[in-house]
């Protein structure tokens, strides 16, 4: 039980960290680029919102198998198969939660004032410096929202993990799939207990999101 919870938290933490790193440049480009076709990229990045998770999971399973294209791509690095591994779950979670990081970040970056960026530029700040000292502080609510949404969404993830995980204790078994197995084998008691814990967790996560958002809003 503790092992399953640990895997869940670890998966959610790693996914949140990596996804914020990956989504930040993408969201910045989507928010600030003048090109019209950026919306094509935005639409692609939002597709995981629409597809049923088991469908995403199935195609990830195909892509991550020993003969899959993703595995072929990673073979030079010694990867034999991504399916049924913790790394595979992370990759799946990144895809599945991508819109939950990109959307709030894009909105936050779009609201960054061009004037303050220009001002920083006249004071000799390079692009990276401008981003770090002007954009990030102004968009901090977007970062918090993205982090909490991705973390919570990954904890609640089910269909993708079910398809690519294989329920290996300590490696790929997470709380949501454990609940499902328990219900399937008619062990309703333990299923209720974990579900209750997840509801409590969801409540705390959302409350934290709202409180932090309020705090940052009043400071700004």
């Amino acid at each position: 039980m503790g092992l399953v919870a640990a895997t869940t938290i670890e998966l959610a933490s790693v996914t949140t960290l990596l996804l914020l790193l990956l989504a930040t440049p993408l969201a910045w480009w989507l928010a600030r680029s003048p090109r019209w076709w950026k919306e094509v990229v935005a639409a692609i990045a939002a597709v995981p919102l629409v597809l049923p998770p088991t469908v995403i999971g199935f195609y990830l399973l195909v892509a991550m198998g020993p003969a899959g294209p993703l595995t072929a791509l990673l073979r030079p690095f010694g990867v034999r198969s991504l399916a049924f591994t913790f790394a595979g779950l992370v990759v799946g979670s990144l895809v599945y939660s991508l819109p939950f990081a990109v959307q709030p970040l894009r909105t936050a970056f779009a609201a960054v004032e061009q004037r303050s960026l220009d001002l920083a530029a006249t004071m000799g700040a390079g692009p990276l410096d401008r981003f770090r000292s002007v954009a990030v502080p102004q968009a901090r609510r977007g970062f918090v929202a993205a982090a909490i949404l991705v973390f919570a969404h990954t904890v609640g993830e089910f269909g993708v993990v079910l398809m690519i995980g294989g329920n290996i204790p300590g490696r790929t078994e997470v709380l949501s799939t454990r609940i499902y197995s328990l219900v399937e084998s008619l062990q309703f008691g333990p299923a209720h207990a974990i579900a209750a814990a997840l509801v409590a967790f969801a409540f705390v996560a959302l409350l934290a999101l709202l409180l932090v958002d309020r705090r940052l809003g009043s400071v700004a």
Partner: protein, 243 residues
Amino acid sequence: MRRLILLALFAAAPVHAGETVVAVAANFTEPAKAIAAAFTKATGDTATLSFGSSGAFYTQMTHGAPFEVFLSADADRPAKLEADGLTVPGTRFVYAVGTLVLYSATPGLVDGQGAVLKGGSFAHLAIADPAAAPYGAAAVETLKTLKLYDQNAPKFVTGSSITQAYQFVATGAAELGFVALSQVITVPGGSRWVVPATLHAPIEQAAVELKTGAANPVAAKFLKFLQGAEARAIIKRYGYEVR
């Protein structure tokens, strides 16, 4: 024009034709469709089939789902429903017995005696969740009978159902796995070992009529048809044994 359409609708519906709603375990989807078609042809009545997991069906039935007949993937859940007082007494019977197969999409990987399980030349062995799926339990029992369980357990990847275990193997994500003969009987190629029935308890699938169907004669008629020669021939064709 509208009158014509109405006329056509009435003409299409056979006189006195009834309907029964049947919950079918997902692993029995194909034979159930064939049996339902034969049933309609023979009687003029319709069996409307819903496919899903037996576990989910059981939970739904204990909460008032409107199914009249249940073709489960196991024998336990129909027995439980009977104990819960939700079935028509005396209607429960085993309609099919499943056959376990060790299967790989790779030709030549699985030999005719299952010796591949001793060698361990693979990273993942797919099984269905032994706590929830009879084929999973049979797979574990087989490995224990062969005294190969401890050696292979670290390689298990567990599908929530036998369908998922098969997906793991069919996509090549797992090199081999314990699946149902019915899943691979029409699949050419690959390699397989049909596990002898002596290595595990029989994988019985039971059917039962639910109280919701007691007032509907079509429900009982469908169950009777399921026990007849025509239905039994269909069931065998799809890789199951019959009693």
